[in-house]
Symmetry: C2
Subunit: 352 residues, 2 copies
């Protein structure tokens, strides 16, 4: 039917499809590709209609919708955060998302984003560290060895030059899992008995813990001059990882300030505590790290623009590799004013 | 695998699946079923975490996300409104939505909502008219004979007792299409040459036009005592259908006041213009229509709770009829902290 040809398709990328994309392109190439897209999109910061995500909180966790748009494309992600899920065998974080045409509202891509979120979060972290950490950083402490930790490790290996990981998790089985998964990665892996031990001697400290509490995983006495902190796990009201003293003595960089004031580590600090949106560093209007002694913190909460960049990557990779399938998410009528006919027309089709 | 058994499924309902549901149950039964769910959910008004929808406006239209949740379920709808789409053969309104478990964040249902939105909008309109129109209403003017008009007509026939439709559309082909579609409906159908002609003698006036402008389709001199106006098409900033004089002389009922102040017909009026949330009429704390002379207006914009009710209907009908298929929207790992293993495990699966 003619209408089916001119009607824009909705491409569906399942978890299996995304696994195929990662396997065909390689995980390192996917992380690097998403990082390139994030950088390109952050350099167009002013082109986007930005808002803080819409969060629905319950006693067990949070469900969020993260929309963003430029003049051509609208994107949103659905994502949850339920720290106790793992006890029931479920992931803490599950996500999917959509790209749509602004000109018509037609959804063009529906994709899994659980795997993709792990990739984009790691890509964002590494992109920030590349500008904010000392260039000779080689040792990273990785606090929290759960679902996202391997992705962080590989992103920092590939994009930042990290060669050694110092690992700590309150669950030793999580650390053992990470060590097993990254055995062939070329990274030196050292399991540590505490956060303090892991942080000692590290150039970069990545915190990616799941517990929903005002934790103080990093305290001021653990910090050494010149460290860069990649604070990933504190990302909603009541969920922080850093002692406020760590923030007060550091230069703090954020994604989208209005969202981070509510969700980030800086929720602990007065609303006028100075922070810098990271896109300014990419754009060259802020120098980023000023010297070798400065402590820098990337107070990351995850911003919709990173998912927009990741969805672009998934779409382009799927097209290139011929992966995914077309789904009939919206009806196609010969006469769009005749929605009623869809019921009748398909009845005839079904009757054949 | 054990994990696949305990992992909650995501059911996918495509357009074809929804057509099958409508054909198996009958359109009238679907409209009535959704109306029952809306009534039940509106009676639990205080149980819901409500917010105005998030709208992304462009020169051509709007894309909206409509989330809502109670203690057990989170729902959202994606919906656009692009009046010029029909020129390119695309629907003005396209929609899909999700039901998820609040306790875990797991998405449980992804469904088409274009057909379903037409059904739920008609169900909501008829439910309101049943309480707000004169009980002996038999004649309805239907202004705007596009994609949603047949659904409105049948809902008012079934739930309100309408026997005659007086039709007008600026596009005569749209009216002809409606007349053809409803030839066997038992409704008397009269095509009229103007809105004024269609409205004359009507008990109820339904406006469901698509144009994005501050239109004045209904003006005060067209109104007769005792009329009920079901104003459906004015639903975003800059898109209204009624002359303000119609509103000023009527008792105005709305879905969710904070959203309607921005999007509804009452956007033309001061913020303190008195309105009544319709759930109060259902709950018995507001009488609704007070006498046979009063003019009532249901200033409908479409509220997330109606989609929540509709998604419940779709899920229950799909289960009852065994329609739909399971989609792998989120990954299933034996160890949920080992997301990284999904890439490897599925590689092995794929290699088999």
């Amino acid at each position: 039917m003619a209408i089916r040809d001119k009607f824009p398709d909705t491409l569906y990328i399942s978890v299996q499809d995304m696994v195929r994309i990662v396997q065909r392109k390689g995980l390192s190439a996917c992380i690097a590709g998403v990082a390139r897209n994030i950088e390109a999109d952050f350099l167009r910061w002013e082109s986007f209609d930005k808002s803080a995500r819409l969060a629905c909180h319950s006693s067990e966790g949070v469900i969020e919708l993260m929309p963003i748009a430029d003049a051509r494309q609208f994107a949103f992600k659905y994502v949850n955060g339920h720290p106790k899920n793992t006890r029931a065998g479920l992931p803490t974080v599950m996500a999917f998302g959509v790209l749509a045409d602004v000109a018509t509202g037609a959804p063009r891509l529906l994709s899994e984003l659980t795997l993709t979120t792990a990739i984009r979060t790691a890509a964002m972290s590494a992109l920030a560290a590349k500008r904010l950490a000392r260039p000779d950083s080689r040792v990273m402490a990785l606090i929290g060895n759960g679902a996202q930790s391997e992705f962080q490790a590989l992103a920092f290996r590939d994009l930042v030059g990290i060669r050694e990981l110092r690992l700590f998790d309150t669950d030793p089985a999580a650390t053992a899992k990470l060590v097993a998964n990254l055995a062939g990665s070329g990274l030196r892996l050292r399991a540590c008995a505490s956060t303090a031990e892991a942080v000692r001697g590290a150039d970069i400290v990545t915190t990616v813990t799941a517990d929903k509490s005002n934790a103080t995983i990093l305290t001021p006495e653990m910090m050494a001059p010149g460290m860069h902190v990649n604070a990933v796990g504190g990302d909603c009201p009541g969920k922080t990882e850093l002692h406020r003293g760590v923030l007060e003595r550091a230069s703090v960089f954020v994604e989208f300030e209005p969202q981070t004031r509510v969700e980030g580590e800086i929720q602990q600090l007065p609303a006028d505590f100075p922070v810098t949106e990271f896109w300014r560093v990419l754009a060259g209007t802020h120098p980023g790290r000023r010297n070798r002694e400065e402590v820098t913190v990337f107070d990351s909460v995850g911003f919709a623009l990173e998912d927009y960049a990741a969805l672009r990557f998934v779409r382009d990779a799927a097209r290139e590799l011929g992966i995914g399938e077309v789904m009939e998410l919206v009806p196609r009528a010969e006469d769009p004013k005749n929605l009623f006919s869809v019921i009748v027309a398909q009845e005839e089709e079904l009757a054949v």
